[in-house]
């Protein structure tokens, strides 16, 4: 029989007070989500309607990916578009015509709102409806907002997935839906573990192609693989689907608890669960033990970035022996990260939102052994003598489930080991 995760003796963090500050936020906007979503959804194009800043952001964040004929682009607003709004709709039609003529392989087009398009109240949902009619049935046009005034970093994926839910066909089939874009190799591991337990059918949102049969209805239960999917969660519930609350599948413990929540729903017996998970669990524990040697007894401080912070803090404190000083998240959806908060021992400051200068003051005063932060802060903190782990990598790299548990610990231990390895000061 698999032991259930032990709750911390001091009690979990679910009801702990949350420090809420507002001020300058050092975060990405939701447009950034496009960079991994377009890899995942192979017949989709993401067209941002925004300014040169938006295009420049995507280019800076996508790095070398920009040179690989990506399936995203920006329709840059010009002076003339700002003058009269009717004009802007016509202009948009022209850009989309041009785009779809060049890329005939595109089956789903997302019109992505930005700060400028939201501020001038350019109605992208009407544009999407109009275009869906115009290009039916070969292309479906949807819209969502990735603007910085509304979304932070990974919330862009949430907004995108939530925009797809209302147009999913209805199905009465009893089914499991896994929600969240994961690297293919990780997604296949999850599906294969659940299939071995006899659970089927298993569907994934987002699907790699729009022609894949994917429906939703009253008999759908869904499990989130990512903590930032609040709106998608709500949209699925509106379609009658039911959420299976669970800790997120990071580390051996998180993955086991996540699988167990699903197994319980599908009445998988303990023996089957044990047979399927025993070997990979043992591997994960071993890999974590090796990779986390450098982390044991070290302290960690999270700046807000992706909403992955709480589940990751849970993994690092419980399975790698770290102490959390502050766990900052851009937003905390208690109904979604509740199970992780239950398992996180009391002690760290939980903070939501940010005033970056004040948070930097707290971080410098605490002098953590490792600071998880964005690329705008990492080098300046390193120059202050603080070891950092830049957070964006945690979104792009395969880190979920058993087989990646060692890699996940490794991402955090590498900067700590490097700090020990370099003997630069001694050479002077």
């Amino acid at each position: 029989m698999t032991e259930l995760p032990r709750l911390p003796v001091s009690g979990g963090c679910r009801d702990e007070p949350i420090l809420k500050q507002r001020g300058q936020r050092e975060v990405f906007c939701g447009l950034t989500g496009i960079i991994w979503l377009h890899r995942k959804m192979q017949d989709a194009f993401f067209l941002v309607i925004g300014s040169r800043t938006c295009a420049h952001l995507l280019q800076s964040a996508a790095g070398v990916m920009i040179f690989a004929e990506p399936r995203f682009g920006t329709a840059i607003l010009e002076e003339t578009d700002l003058a009269g709004l009717a004009d802007a709709q016509a202009e948009l039609d022209k850009v989309v015509d041009q785009l779809l003529a060049r890329r005939t392989d595109i089956k789903q087009l997302f019109l992505v709102g930005s700060c400028p398009s939201e501020v001038i109240k350019l109605d992208l949902s009407r544009a999407a409806e109009r275009m869906t009619e115009r290009y039916a049935p070969s292309v479906r046009v949807l819209n969502f907002s990735g603007s910085g005034i509304e979304t932070t970093f990974t919330q862009g994926e949430d907004a995108c997935l939530a925009s797809m839910v209302p147009v999913l066909p209805k199905t009465d089939t009893r089914q499991l839906m896994l929600v969240g874009a994961l690297p293919d190799v990780v997604e296949e591991q999850a599906v294969s573990l659940l299939s071995e337990m006899g659970i089927s059918p298993i569907k994934v949102l987002p699907a790699p192609r729009s022609d894949i049969d994917l429906g939703v209805g009253d008999n759908t239960v869904f499990a989130l693989t990512q903590p930032f999917l609040g709106d998608t969660h709500a949209a699925l519930e509106r379609r009658g689907a039911r959420h299976l609350p669970a800790p997120f599948p990071f580390g051996e413990e998180g993955t086991t608890a996540w699988l167990r929540a699903i197994a319980d729903e599908f009445e998988v017996d303990a023996e089957t669960f044990e047979r399927v998970t025993a070997a990979p669990r043992a591997r994960a524990r071993k890999a974590i033990a090796q990779a986390s040697e450098a982390l044991n007894g070290k302290s960690i401080f999270f700046f807000p970035d992706s909403q992955l912070e709480i589940p990751l803090a849970r993994f690092l404190t419980r399975e790698c022996g770290m102490t959390a000083i502050e766990v900052g998240a851009p937003f905390i959806h208690k109904s979604i990260v509740g199970p992780d908060l239950d398992m996180l021992a009391q002690g760290p400051t939980l903070s939501e939102g940010q005033d970056v200068d004040l948070q930097l003051d707290r971080c410098r005063a605490a002098r953590p052994d490792l600071t998880v932060c964005g690329l705008g802060l990492a080098n300046p903190l390193e120059a202050d003598g603080l070891a950092t782990k830049w957070a964006i990598e945690l979104v792009f790299t395969p880190v979920h489930f058993f087989e990646q548990a060692g890699d996940l610990a490794g991402l955090f231990s590498r900067p700590v080991r490097r700090a020990d390895l370099l003997k630069l000061e001694a050479a002077e």
Binding site: G23, Q24, E26, V27, C29, L31, I49, S51, R52, T53, A55, H56, L57, Q59, S60, A61, F67, P70, G73, T74, A75, I76, L77, E78, E79, D81, L82, L92, K94, V95, C115, P116, V119, I120, S147, G148, I149, T152, D184, V185, E188, A279, R283, K286, A287, Q290, A291, D357, G374, L375, G376, L377, N379, P380, E382, A383, E403, G406, A409, G410
Partner: protein, 514 residues
């Protein structure tokens, strides 16, 4: 609306950030939505700065829209002043804040902050990054610089270098020593490294060296008019241009022209017989106007190339560039659409491209050697080593940089010619120039170099990959697949396992986890 994937320039407020980050003691308060802070990482990552750019953003969100954003701006400005205590502030709006019309300049005026607060008008929907830098520097100079007595000795200001500038750091060093050889010392370098206080004493210099017209020409013209300081028109990139620059400085100052060329190697290297094969190489040039104009002269007159095409992405430099192109008997390409650049390159079929990082990728795709001569550039073009473009050492650096990919290109060509020889084969893989990628394999076929090889004869046993493990292996990104294969095989053979299953693959992965 204009469909865009790649942009050569960022929005104008990024230009203002380049000025602010280059300077010290200046702080920029930018009215901008949450998310615009992405630009910080250009400075901390690409330029590897060890401090945050001196920029405070209001980062307003949807719920702040309305009159709230104006209060938010004032509060942010006050907080930034209290925290950073700068010598001067610049304030402005990014593209979104421009739409909500809060007027940062007007608001800051009413607040009684006891240092100069300089408002910036940067039209985000018309202009771009270089304009932003030029305009910001101009506004700072116009506000702070005053007429004053000239220094006793002949001094000059170096103007134009900014943060995120292509080789600006080392160009300053090179020019400073070049001028010092003539007995001229540098009064102020700006914006890079200057404080607002330094800007106030720019008027003491006898003349200005305009290093980069893109980022300082407006300021140079203003100082010529208001402070009576002439400025240099030649940008000293290349041997000929450096000599002309020295002559120009001599004329402005009345000093004797002097250039210490004892370490100048480009002319001899270019003459030596090894360089004969460079003759008439057809090159295409693209970048910012200044670097392209300089590169064209070097290419034709100092390297013996044939310039078959040239162009720039910043229309501010369109006129001088068109004039240069005429001299070369070609038509200049003025565009910020990389697809146009790519199709022009395809049409011209040059043997070499000199451009930005975008042209480097175009070159890669088309299999044409390429060297980088202009921003925008990625992290590798902010090198640790000394590598100016200007002056004597700049000429040496340029010779090496341009010839290097061509020599490599020759190697590539030889390899290609002898490809069918028994010692070479397709599976040997491409060099970093691409264009000769290994042929895609039919499904199920195992590439020769991918085949399991029992490496340590005697101690190892033959291991066999089961079909599903082989498929699983294919899912691993190609650049680590080889390592994963080796590790798994070593792991299996050490344990006497003859068959590799998916489980073995992951057992091995767990074993080697770090």
């Amino acid at each position: 609306m204009k469909l865009t994937v790649w942009t050569y320039e960022g929005p104008p407020h990024v230009g203002a950030m380049r000025v602010a980050t280059g300077m010290k003691g200046l702080h920029y308060v930018l009215h901008a939505p949450q998310g615009d802070t992405y630009a910080d990482l250009l400075f901390t990552m690409i330029e590897r700065r060890d401090h945050r750019p001196p920029v405070t953003y209001t980062t307003f969100q949807a719920r702040d829209l309305g009159s709230d954003t104006a209060d938010l701006f004032k509060q942010t400005l006050q907080d930034a002043y209290d925290r950073f205590k700068p010598e001067a502030l610049i304030v402005g709006a990014s593209c979104t804040a421009e739409l909500i019309q809060d007027d940062p300049g007007g608001m800051s005026e009413t607040m009684g902050i006891p240092i100069p607060v300089i408002p910036l008008e940067l039209p985000s929907y018309q202009r771009k990054e270089n304009f932003g830098a030029d305009e910001t520097f101009f506004q700072i100079v116009r506000t702070l610089a005053k007429p004053m007595a000239r220094t006793k000795q002949i001094t000059c200001n170096l103007i134009g270098p900014t943060a995120l500038g292509f080789r600006h750091r080392d160009d300053i060093t090179e020019l400073t020593s070049l001028l010092s050889d003539m007995g001229i010392s540098v009064n102020v370098v700006a914006p890079m490294g200057a404080t607002p206080t330094d800007i106030t004493r720019m008027g003491a210099a006898h003349f200005n060296v305009l290093m980069y017209p893109e980022t300082a020409e407006t300021a140079a013209r203003w100082m010529e008019r208001e402070l009576g300081q002439p400025f240099t028109k030649t940008v000293p990139i290349g041997v000929g241009a450096t000599r002309d620059f020295i002559a120009e400085v001599a004329e402005i100052t009345g000093l004797d022209p002097y250039l210490d060329d004892s370490r100048l190697r480009l002319p001899w290297y270019s003459k030596s017989v090894d360089s004969t094969y460079l003759t008439g190489k057809r090159v295409f040039l693209f970048g910012d106007g200044t670097h392209v104009i300089a590169a064209a002269r070097i290419a034709r007159d100092e390297m013996g190339f044939e310039v078959v095409g040239l162009g720039c992405y910043n229309r501010e430099m369109a006129r001088p560039l068109r004039a240069v192109a005429k001299d070369y008997g070609i038509e200049a390409l003025i565009t910020d659409d990389y697809l146009e650049v790519e199709s022009r390159i395809e049409a011209l079929q040059p043997e070499m491209i000199l451009g930005t990082q975008m042209e480097r990728h175009i070159g890669k795709r088309l299999g044409i050697p390429c060297a980088v001569i202009s921003a925008p550039v990625h992290v590798q073009d902010f090198p640790a080593r000394y590598s100016p473009q200007m002056g004597v050492e700049g000429a040496n650096v340029i010779f090496d940089t341009w010839v290097h990919p061509l020599v490599m290109g020759l190697e590539e060509h030889l390899l290609h010619m002898f490809r069918d020889d028994f010692e070479f084969n397709d599976a040997a893989g491409p060099s970093h120039h691409g264009g000769h990628s290994p042929k895609p394999q039919a499904a199920g076929e195992v590439a020769p170099q991918d085949a399991p090889q029992p490496e340590i004869a005697g101690t190892s046993i033959e291991v066999v990959w089961l079909a599903d493990a082989e498929r699983e292996l294919k899912k691993i990104p190609f650049f680590v697949r080889g390592k994963a294969r080796r590790n798994t095989e070593t792991f299996a053979s050490e344990r006497g396992v003859g068959e590799i299953s998916v489980d073995t693959l992951y057992e091995a992965k767990a074993h080697y986890a770090r």
